[in-house]
Symmetry: C2
Subunit: 241 residues, 2 copies
């Protein structure tokens, strides 16, 4: 006749407790969770509820189960953003312009922060990538290799922001981007005039960062992003014809 007022299920309460432990810093990346039996004893719930909770956290990319070893907090938790963001995108009839806006936002903020926070070691690594790019475009023009170096450059850049929130969103937006226009990057790089322009832009971005000039780094990245946007627009116009 009477129903329980709390509608929260037991496994949901278990999930909340584990998330809470992460949020207050008790559980850290790579940490091993107590065994299912121990969790069940401590929280005074059935092992079935513990297993259900772990299953959800595993699917969310928060916990990983290693056979014979137990359950661990994921080290690559940024993967847990990809699916929700992809679904938000689709459920709201997202366009490639939306993804590009997100990408521009991340890249522009990244270079500004990188110009402030970067170490000499960071700059050396970034320069090495630009040098490789130059060599590659002059010599072999191996498209796949240039794509790889391009990705390496932008990934290094975002790591120089030393902000995991931005890094995680970058990884997520890259996935979204790739899924959206699969080989666009290669097509853009294939057009020879853009290829050299791209290398020059990367060089200019590196220079501004190594001179610790956030405004200049922003402007150079903006120019780079404008080229990319233009290429996408042209590509989409062609496809619609």
């Amino acid at each position: 006749m009477f129903n329980s007022i709390s509608s929260k299920k037991v496994y949901e309460q278990v999930i909340e407790q584990i998330q809470e432990s992460i949020l207050i810093g008790e559980l850290k990346k790579g940490d091993k969770l107590p065994s299912e039996r121990e969790l069940s004893d401590r929280m005074r719930v059935s092992r079935t509820s513990i297993r259900e909770a772990l299953r959800v956290l595993e699917t969310m990319g928060v916990v990983e189960s290693r056979q014979g070893e137990g359950n661990f907090i994921c080290t690559n938790i940024e993967k847990s953003l990809i699916e929700p963001l992809s679904m938000i995108f689709k459920l709201n009839d997202g366009t490639w312009q939306n993804v590009l806006e997100l990408r521009e936002m991340l890249e522009l903020q990244t270079v500004k922060i990188a110009a402030i926070k970067s170490t000499e070691e960071d700059c050396r690594e970034l320069k090495a990538i630009v040098d490789e790019m130059k060599k590659e475009t002059q010599q072999s023009s191996n498209k796949k290799e240039i794509v790889r170096l391009d990705q390496k450059f932008h990934k290094k850049l975002v790591s120089m922001s030393k902000n995991y929130l931005i890094e995680s969103l970058f990884v997520t937006s890259s996935k979204l981007f790739e899924g959206f226009i699969k080989d666009a990057r290669e097509k853009i790089i294939a057009t020879s005039w853009t290829k050299e322009v791209l290398v020059d832009k990367h060089d200019a971005i590196y220079e501004a960062i190594s001179c610790k000039n956030p405004d200049e780094a922003y402007n150079k990245m903006k120019e780079h992003m404008d080229i990319i946007r233009k290429s996408y627009e042209e590509m989409n116009n062609t496809e619609n014809c």
Copy 2:
């Protein structure tokens, strides 16, 4: 003696199929899912596996179950980003500077896009909020009311970007922000000199957007963000003393 090579569990495959339907656009926001029985028949898996999958999707904030009505695709799916982002933040020893960097990034990109995409109706609504703010600060100085108007202004602004990715990340970063420094917004607004400066800045941001000037909107938002950053820095210095 021999183990199955595929390690993917049945409920995980069910989740993948539902996510795939969202990603290819078959399932949209608010859509009702087929009944558990129908899903189980169509996918040829047990109802237990269907229930497990739905449970995970529910916890992730993708599906909502309405008693007596069935299962639906969530309309407020952006909630599904909050927990992963909060956990990424904590697991990487995030600082309030990291959250502020994310926030600045979202606000700055938002005003640039808003200045391009905003309609006359958008601008009227934004102006109404600024006018209310002015009135409130001149008359009553009700802190809670100013906080509410401030939030309303920034929320309206982000909706003018007409980019759900950015909107969702904004909602997510706001939650992260609030959890981090709970009553900072009120403290900042409480300092009377900042209060008037803030209203003037909001007005200037509105003006630049209504004139369709993205660079000016960016600069005004940058000034606004610099004030906020300074207030946080002062607050944190005080707290550390």
